[in-house]
Amino acid sequence: MEAHLRMDANWLLVLLLAGFALAPLTYPGFVQAWQGFAPAYALQDLRAGLPLGFWGVAWPPHAGAEGPLPYLLSAAWMALGASPVAAVRWTWAVGLLLGALGAYAWLRERWGPMPALLGAVAYTYTPYHLNALYARGVAGEALALGLLPWLGWAAARPGWKGLLALALGLGALVLTVPGLAFLAAWPLAALVALQGRGRGRGWAWGMLLLGALAGAGSAWTLAHAGETVPFHALLAVREPLANPWTLGLIPVAAWFGGGAAWLAPAMEPQRREVGLWLGTSVLGALAAALWPGGLLPSWTPLSLTAWAVPPLVGVAAAAWPSLTRPEVAAGALALMVLAAQPTLKPPFTRLDPGPAPLAVWQEPGGGRLALLQQEVGRDAEGTLHLDLTWQAWGRVQGDYTLFVHLVGEDGRILAQDDAQPQGGKRLTSGWRSGEIVPDARTLPLSQGVSGPLRLAVGWYLPQTGERLPLVRASLPAEPDHRVWLHVP
């Protein structure tokens, strides 16, 4: 088979049909996904020469989370004039488009243009794929899911060009989500071994060796026990922000389609390959549900399930050519887009996150409370009005109380307000990760108060009075986990 990307109208169709998936990225702001503004802050840290580790996008020593590639790409967008949140959005867009085009390129030469179109669109609208952007808001996986189909494409290339493409692709994946690269190497190795017949045993054995190494790496990342994805979450239909792990209709339909193709006599020559992708897909889902993650988030194997969608859809379309008739294919494509609708209306925010959060507190369980914005005003009667904007990162388990201290020149507390956010209406344990939560406070000033005033804020657990540790601050901070707000 000739190794080049042949152009046809379906390339354009793949891009056009990806429009619905890309649409939320045209919002002039950012999504309130699980990661909140963390990717934008990590990007600015990278540009400032700071390590990415604080955001959980650790590059060495951790291999389980995110590598620097998505942030380097975002930094390039910033160099072209994009704002930090726009740069992250553009990187997500690149990931989505890369994935769609990669899936088409991969399947087109294997199964033909129409099965490839169906497979590419199915991949674009796979819930796990979209939820990586719009529910979890992760930069690494968003780009990694764009790279995976190109690995499939590269694995099908003969000769040194294929080897080079595969090496480059794997390298990029390692720099994006290292743990996923370990996992992906397994099916890749098997695929090359399957397709390597007639290309030389050395190539196949080399890939198997790579697979074994990858397996060892995978085992290492999985050895650090963590939480699994609840099995019911894989099949449950809930709001994407509440359950971004749902398999959704597309992968399940791909299982049925691929399974039927596996049984079809006409597909006998491709049975091993179909079996490989069926196995990858099912094992990916089972791994997420059964194997505790650790350094690698437990849901990462679901990327493999998503990755297997295009070949399974493609082989099903190839097995039954009537599925590729325009009116039938159009219906299938519309169904895919329709099935993805719930994931395509994330909550947005137009808040400007600034170069860094003003302060971040972290509870022992890992949940963080980030102060994004503060405004202090004083009315004619001298009452101080304080508007604070918060964002939760991760699941906050405790119901914390926010204290606001008005401190005089001599260090005495002149007034204070201790209360749970929004007068107890929004307990911190109920904050959804990534949600923007405003909180307003007022502090009446007693007469005769003069001189420079200072405002300090912090969190504590009301049951014990223990303060929540302050882990990062761009505002002036004290060792007792308070930060000083700007007072005009």
Binding site: P24, Y27, A330
Partner: protein, 606 residues
């Protein structure tokens, strides 16, 4: 001769499927909270008030702006209200009549879209286009969120107009010309704004049809100096019937559009185009066009609108694939699909910020008032494009190509329905907060909403209330519009109202000198005239000028010394008379042509 009526199963099926779209209308109550829901009930209320007074083509709505009145139907397409009035006269209450017009518009839209798409690409394409049109999100939004009655009805006319003009080019005959003209007139009488937005599209479509036909008959390679005259003749032959259809349409609707065009400048438009109606605040972001958002709020500045402007995922996907499939395979009528794809793309463009320079530079673009209103063109174009997916292959195409089957049509139709099903909801309430439909409720509605408070250009300050509103709310009749408080003390002016209707008032007047004037709680607008009548015989002695007073621009008439009767009356202006005459002449010509055709046919049959 008895012609057998053929039952079109797919049309019946399309109509049957549209029942889901009618569902919320069949509920008791009404979606009072929808944007213009109250407006259309009260437009009908006002129209009916005039009809009850014997005015068959009302132009003046007496209770707008707290009873100061407004020439609403002089500038606003009245057909939807006229149909509502017919239902009302048949016994439906105002609200039910409005709901019936909505239902009729939905069903009519399904039929006209079916007919046109069927004509282009066959019945299966007609079915799919019809369902896609009925369930186009903007169509649903127009009914249940915006409650835009004329716009919903105009959506029924758009395919009918295209179909009529297509017939006038494809099979030029008198019937097609009259059909095209009547459909265009219907559109103009329903919504002049939509007609103005749509006419350039229609012109382009006609130009494309005519050119295609002419170039087919005489390809450019066969052109020569000798062929110029036949070419011009052919151009006239092919282009004549649609042009005639357009003239018939303009003639039939002249009763409305001629005065509207001439006298629109006498109403304040800042209320409709500035402030919260500034088009710059209503551009649509791409995520709104493609995203599955829905809501019952309003359009606000910025991207956080509480209302949906989505084009609909399913018709968009079907349309996109149809375009690709049509380009790849040789399908019947692909040129039409290409044209409608261009209309869809152009409409989408005009909704976005990218088109802002066009909005600034070209005033016709601003006829839409809001950028998102170009959905009115996008929805039919996209529905037609989606329908073209089921166009049969060209007879000369490869034999391997099969015509799309009935099962595919049904599957895709149901898919379209499924895509829009979550949006088929209305916020139905039993009774609005201002109370049941009445003059008192109308006044209260105007007060709390600041709606239906249109004014003429002589009004500098829009009233917030009025003495008439006080009377209405108190349940008392308004028997005069004379401002008695403005009568000077000392017995120099005596006024006594004798009779009044929505468009006139007759008052007995005594003036001690020539400097006295009678002031009315009425906005001035061309067509208002004041006459001095003989006190005993009521013969017109002279016409006296009207001037305006106060920040409200109320009418005031200076009366001559002595005892008289002053008649203030709203009449037709010359341009209104010309419009009426033109429409009457066109109707007469159409009837004569129809009769002549009938006679010729009968003669031929013998």
């Amino acid at each position: 001769m008895c012609r057998r009526v053929r039952v079109d199963g797919l049309l019946l099926l399309a109509l049957g499927l549209s029942l889901f779209a009618l569902g919320p209308l069949l509920q008791p109550g009404y979606f009072w909270g929808a944007h213009d829901a109250r407006h259309h009930v009260y437009f009908l209320f006002e129209w009916d008030r005039s009809v009850q007074e014997g005015i068959l083509w009302p132009r003046w709505s007496p209770d707008f702006c707290f009873g100061y009145g407004y020439p609403f139907f002089n500038i606003y397409g009245p057909l939807a209200t006229m149909i509502g009035e017919a239902f009302h006269l048949l016994g439906a209450d105002y609200v039910t009549a409005v709901k019936m017009v909505f239902a009729l518009a939905i069903l009519a839209g399904a039929c006209t879209m079916y007919g046109f798409a069927r004509r282009l690409w066959g019945p299966r394409a007609g079915f799919l286009a019809s369902v896609a049109y009925t369930y186009a999100p903007y169509h649903i939004l127009d009914v249940y969120v915006r409650a835009a009655l004329p716009e919903t009805l105009s959506l029924a006319f758009l395919p009918l107009v295209l179909w009529g003009f297509y017939e006038a080019v494809a099979r030029p005959r008198l019937g097609a010309v009259l059909w095209a003209g009547a459909a265009y007139a219907g559109l103009m009488l329903t919504s002049n704004a939509i007609a103005l937005m749509f006419t350039p599209v229609l012109a382009l479509y006609l130009a494309a049809l005519v050119l295609h036909r002419v170039l087919r008959d005489q390809p450019p390679r066969a052109w020569s100096r000798e062929s110029a005259l036949p070419l011009a003749g052919n151009l006239l032959h092919v282009g004549g019937p649609p042009l005639l259809g357009l003239l018939v349409g303009l003639g039939l609707s002249a009763i409305f559009w001629l005065p509207a065009a001439a006298e629109f400048r006498y109403v304040r438009t800042d209320q409709w185009y500035a402030g919260r109606y500034d088009y710059r605040d209503d551009f649509v972001y791409p995520f709104q066009l493609l995203g599955p958002y829905w809501g019952f709020g309003t359009s606000v500045a910025g991207p956080d609108d509480e209302v949906s402007f989505q084009m609909g995922a399913v018709p968009a996907v079907l349309g996109t694939v149809a375009l690709a499939a049509g380009a790849r395979q040789r399908r019947r009528g692909f040129g039409h699909a290409l044209f409608f794809a261009a209309v869809a793309a152009g409409s989408a463009f005009l909704m976005t910020w990218a088109s802002a320079p066009l909005w600034e530079a070209l005033s016709p673009v601003r006829f839409a008032q809001f950028p998102w209103r170009y959905q009115t063109l996008l929805a039919p174009a996209l529905s037609l494009l989606a329908g073209s997916l089921l166009a049969p292959p060209e007879p000369a195409s490869a034999p391997a190509q099969r015509e799309p089957g009935l099962a595919a049509a049904l599957f895709l139709g149901l898919l379209v329905l499924l895509g829009s099903y979550p949006y088929l909801q209305a916020q139905v309430v039993d009774e609005p907060k201002e109370g049941p439909v009445s003059l008192a409720a109308l006044m209260r509605f105007q007060q709390w909403s600041d709606e239906m408070t249109g004014a003429t250009i002589w009004t500098k300050e829009i009233p917030r209330w009025s003495p008439m509103a006080d009377l209405h709310v108190a349940g008392q009749p308004v028997t005069t519009l004379v401002d008695y408080a403005a009568i000077p003390p000392g017995g120099v002016l005596g006024v006594h109202s004798l009779e009044m209707s929505s468009i006139h008032e007759k008052v007995w007047v005594y003036a001690a000198d020539d400097r006295q004037e009678v002031i009315f709680y009425r906005f001035y607008y061309p067509g208002w005239h004041a006459y001095i009548l003989d006190e005993h015989t009521e013969e017109v002695l002279t016409e006296v000028p009207i001037h305006t007073v106060g920040p409200e621009g109320r009418m005031a008439v200076r009366v001559p010394q002595g005892r008289h009767i002053l008649l203030l009356r709203f009449e037709d202006t010359p341009v209104r008379r010309a419009g009426k005459a033109l429409s009457a002449a066109t109707v007469l010509a159409v009837l004569l042509l129809g009769a002549a055709r009938l006679l010729l046919r009968r003669g031929g049959a013998r």
